[in-house]
């Protein structure tokens, strides 16, 4: 076997530049859509998990005391919690749509090659989802009466 390292020499050899490292290469895994969708999936997943823990506990009050349940659920209607709910629905929507993208990549032959467009399709659907939900929800929370 000959030495693999070092540039090959000779008149017939073409020079090929090594791929230019991206600005943040070395500190990130690959970067771009594939990595960021993974990061977002983790962050939204953890956030939704902790909300679920709290949500099971607050809903459990419905079995114990009607007034206590009304008092706690009343805090869900305040402006700050209303914004939190907007964030929660945004997180759930992104996790759901990217989850469907992951399932498509895993089960549909050839989908891996279009994982990047699939990510942007998920983002477009997510924006459309929020465009339908947010104005109505914010009117419920901030609107009068």
């Amino acid at each position: 076997m000959h030495e693999e390292s070092g540039p090959a020499s000779g008149a017939a050899t073409a020079t090929i530049d090594p791929p230019k490292p991206r600005r943040i290469a070395g500190t990130l895994y690959r970067g771009r859509e594939g990595m960021w969708s993974w990061v977002l999936h983790r962050i939204t997943g953890v956030a939704i998990f902790f909300f679920l823990l709290v949500h099971i506990l607050d809903t459990a009050l419905v079995r114990l005391d009607a007034d206590a349940y009304d008092a706690v659920i009343g805090t869900y209607k305040t402006p700050i919690m209303g914004l939190g709910e907007a964030g929660l629905v945004a997180a759930i929507g992104l996790h759901a749509l990217n989850g469907l993208r992951i399932i498509a990549i895993d089960f549909i032959p050839g989908a891996t090659r279009v994982q990047r467009p699939l990510f942007w399709i998920a983002i477009v659907l997510w924006v459309a989802l929020l465009a339908g939900f947010l104005p109505r929800h914010l009117m419920h929370v901030f609107g009068g009466a």
Partner: protein, 150 residues
């Protein structure tokens, strides 16, 4: 150069995980995808009813929940969300803990995760299946007749 005879290795030329271990993790992997698809429908339906239609979150109170849980359809719907989502979330958290925690910390976190999951599955199921509308205001309306007769 080596002077030993060439050995032919039949494909596949790599070792797989033991069949038993592969089965367990594969089932977890498959569960995430199967439950994920169901949860998209179940949770978007939940959000549609509770957060979008009518006056959204403003409409939710004890009477709202009592009205939903009077219908077994929603008890089953909510139970499916409870079990599918909590196990989906706990398995996701297990993955993350295994990625970032080592040794004793990992054991403690995985233990806490298991306890929290089991406790909340039991609690949530009890709430859904033993719900009693008569602990609310029964002075008027449907509940006055329903609960007064007990």
């Amino acid at each position: 150069m080596s002077d030993t005879a060439t050995t032919t290795v039949e494909p596949p030329r790599y070792s797989r995980a033991p069949r038993k271990a592969r089965g367990l993790e594969k089932r977890a992997w498959l569960y995430m995808r199967a439950s994920g698809i169901l949860l998209v429908v179940l949770i978007f339906g939940h959000l549609l009813i509770n957060m979008f239609l009518g006056t959204g979150v403003r409409a939710i109170d004890f009477a709202f929940v009592a009205g939903k849980l009077a219908n077994p359809f929603w008890i089953v719907w909510d139970s499916l969300i409870l079990w599918l989502a909590l196990i989906h979330g706990a398995n996701g958290m297990r993955t993350i803990v295994n990625d970032y925690a080592r040794g004793a910390l990992r054991a403690v976190l995985l233990g806490a995760l298991l306890v929290a999951t089991v406790v909340l599955l039991v609690l949530g199921s009890l709430v859904l299946w033993t719900f009693d509308p008569c602990i609310g205001d029964t002075s008027s309306g449907v509940l006055a007749e329903l609960c007064g007769a007990q």
